[in-house]
């Protein structure tokens, strides 16, 4: 099975421990069941943590493979942004999670990983998460005049709207 937890067990504790030691007030272990080592950090320190992960020679997370936004509807803050990070050099992986409130802006990570550009535009387009410092924050998949953000849980689908009485 791919990316099993055992595979990364050796790297797991050290990376997470190092992060929590470096950012004692802002980083914590993720409690949920998740197949990669994961850390939750506070929104305010996200750029610092990102730069630290990329630039520390022992970590060298040079490859931001995926950024996913999730709408957790009833939870506060409402959204989670999930960054899946890989180090091509050390072959270890890490998940970085930040909670984002509805009115909060996320510092863009384009200056750390160029690939963050389109991921952030996608999260903006489909979930309505806003980013500060992004070079070109526009919708990417939907037309510019589109209303609403489909991946939000309270988004009303066209057919539901039409056949509300069904």
């Amino acid at each position: 099975m791919g990316d099993s937890s055992e595979e990364n067990a050796a790297g797991r504790s050290t990376i997470i421990d190092l992060l929590i030691k470096t950012f004692p007030d802002s980083a914590s272990v993720v409690q949920e069941r998740i197949n990669w080592p994961a850390v939750r950090v506070k929104l305010a320190v996200l750029p610092e943590v990102a730069r630290f992960l990329r630039e520390s020679p022992d970590l060298a997370f040079d490859y931001l493979t995926c950024v996913s936004g999730i709408d957790l509807k009833d939870r506060s803050p409402r959204f989670d942004l999930v960054y899946h990070l890989v180090s091509l050099q050390h072959k270890h992986v890490l998940v970085l999670k930040v909670g984002v409130g509805e009115d909060e802006e996320v510092p863009s990570l384009v200056s750390v990983w160029k690939g963050a550009d389109w991921h952030e535009r996608e999260a903006y387009d489909l979930l309505g998460i806003s980013f500060s410092g992004h070079p070109d924050l526009r919708r990417i998949l939907l037309p510019d005049e589109w209303k609403g953000h489909p991946l939000r849980k309270d988004y009303v689908l066209a057919e539901e709207d039409k056949f509300a009485g069904d």
Binding site: D71, W118, L142, L151, Y155
Partner: protein, 367 residues
């Protein structure tokens, strides 16, 4: 000619353009024949597949994954199924793993063949297209024997595969592999030493290793730039560790490097299929699972080396029958983001070659 001023011009390319391989629109700013800047306008094929996942059961979502990279649907099936299996924690029978590797590699061949034919066609060589589609036809015939479909397979299932590999399928694959290496020689004869092809592909569309990493390019795009990284070796899944094959890399990261990487990959895929056919164990082709699947609360990100690069599925389960969130990390989408840096100062005519060398499928870019 002193005193003459060049003015930049905006040129629209697509969404209906034969060389954008689907409905992609590019907005080019050009000065004379040079591309100064460009932007990509996506989403013409957006069907909201990630949203659709939330109103379907896990099983019902598999056929939708066929509609992502529809030229290599088996890889999509496999990636999603592996992610859900990670949540379910099931043991997959070895026979099923071998069949999965076989179909994933057949998909890679089919995808690379379409790429090679279309790419050569973009550059003005019509013959390779006809040859490549001839071989692809054999692959589709074999897969049709296996699951009844030629492109939208819906074949890989949780715990195994939908149907067992029959002797007829094995026979068909062996027959195909008997001649395939010679066919690749033929393509290479037409292209690899061809002076026109060389002048159209060498020294254009550079992607530095640094940029490839920073953009998280993957697959032949990353390897073309000289980075030896293949998930089948570097984060192995299924029974790939038992297979013997090499990972080709380029040296400078131009269009030519990506071409040659894909050609070598085709030969390696044929090698893998041969090993899987020889080693195909007897036994079950599917593990027994409950009819109604409710993975325990949790989340998994699983990535496979699809023909176009790293295909990842991030699946979040809230313990019900439907996934809470499915995020698809589509390799074409990420790779396409590098187009802008690769086309800086390129000729408009070379743009077609550079775009072609990324190997995009809009079904996957737009999702």
């Amino acid at each position: 000619m002193a005193g003459l001023r060049t003015e930049s011009l905006f040129l629209n390319m697509g969404p209906q353009h034969p060389s954008t391989h689907g409905v992609l629109r590019l907005g080019l700013t050009i000065e004379g024949e040079r591309v100064v800047d460009l932007f990509a306008d996506l989403g013409f094929l957006h069907r909201g597949i990630e949203k659709l996942a939330e109103s379907r059961t896990y099983l019902q979502f598999i056929p939708l994954t066929d509609r992502l990279d529809y030229l290599a649907a088996m890889s999509n099936n496999l990636a999603f199924v592996l992610a859900v299996e990670e949540l379910l924690e099931v043991e997959v029978p070895r026979r099923a793993e071998y069949i999965r590797v076989m179909v994933a590699e057949l998909s890679r061949l089919a995808s690379h063949l379409v790429w090679l034919g279309a790419f050569a066609n973009d550059l003005g060589a019509t013959t390779p297209l006809l040859y490549c589609f001839r071989e692809r036809e054999d692959i589709l015939d074999a897969l049709e024997l296996l699951c009844g479909a030629r492109m939208t397979f819906n074949y890989v299932r949780f715990g195994g595969v939908a149907r067992d590999a029959t002797p007829a399928f094995v026979e068909k694959c062996r027959k195909f592999l008997e001649t395939f290496d010679k066919r690749v020689d033929e393509y290479e004869e037409l292209l690899t030493g061809n002076a026109i092809f060389l002048s159209r592909t060498k020294g254009i569309g550079f992607l530095s290793a640094e940029d490839a990493r920073s953009f998280a390019a993957s697959g032949p795009m990353l390897r073309g730039s000289g980075i030896q990284w293949d998930l089948r070796k570097d984060a192995p899944y299924s029974v790939y560790p038992e297979m013997d094959f090499i990972i080709p890399t380029g040296t400078v990261g131009d269009v030519w490097d990506r071409y040659i990487v894909r050609v070598i990959e085709m030969r390696q895929s044929a090698r893998i299929i041969r090993q899987a056919l020889d080693g195909l164990p007897e036994g079950e082709f599917k593990a027994k699972l409950p009819r109604v699947l409710k993975p325990a609360q949790g989340e998994a990100y699983v990535r496979v080396e699809a023909p176009k690069g790293e295909l990842g599925f991030y699946v979040v389960s809230d313990g019900t029958t439907n996934p809470f969130r499915v995020k698809i990390r589509a390799p074409s989408f990420i790779n396409l983001a590098t187009l802008r840096v690769m086309c800086k100062e390129a000729l408009v005519a070379d743009l077609v070659a550079i775009l072609g060398s990324i190997d995009i499928v809009l079904g996957e870019v737009d999702r």
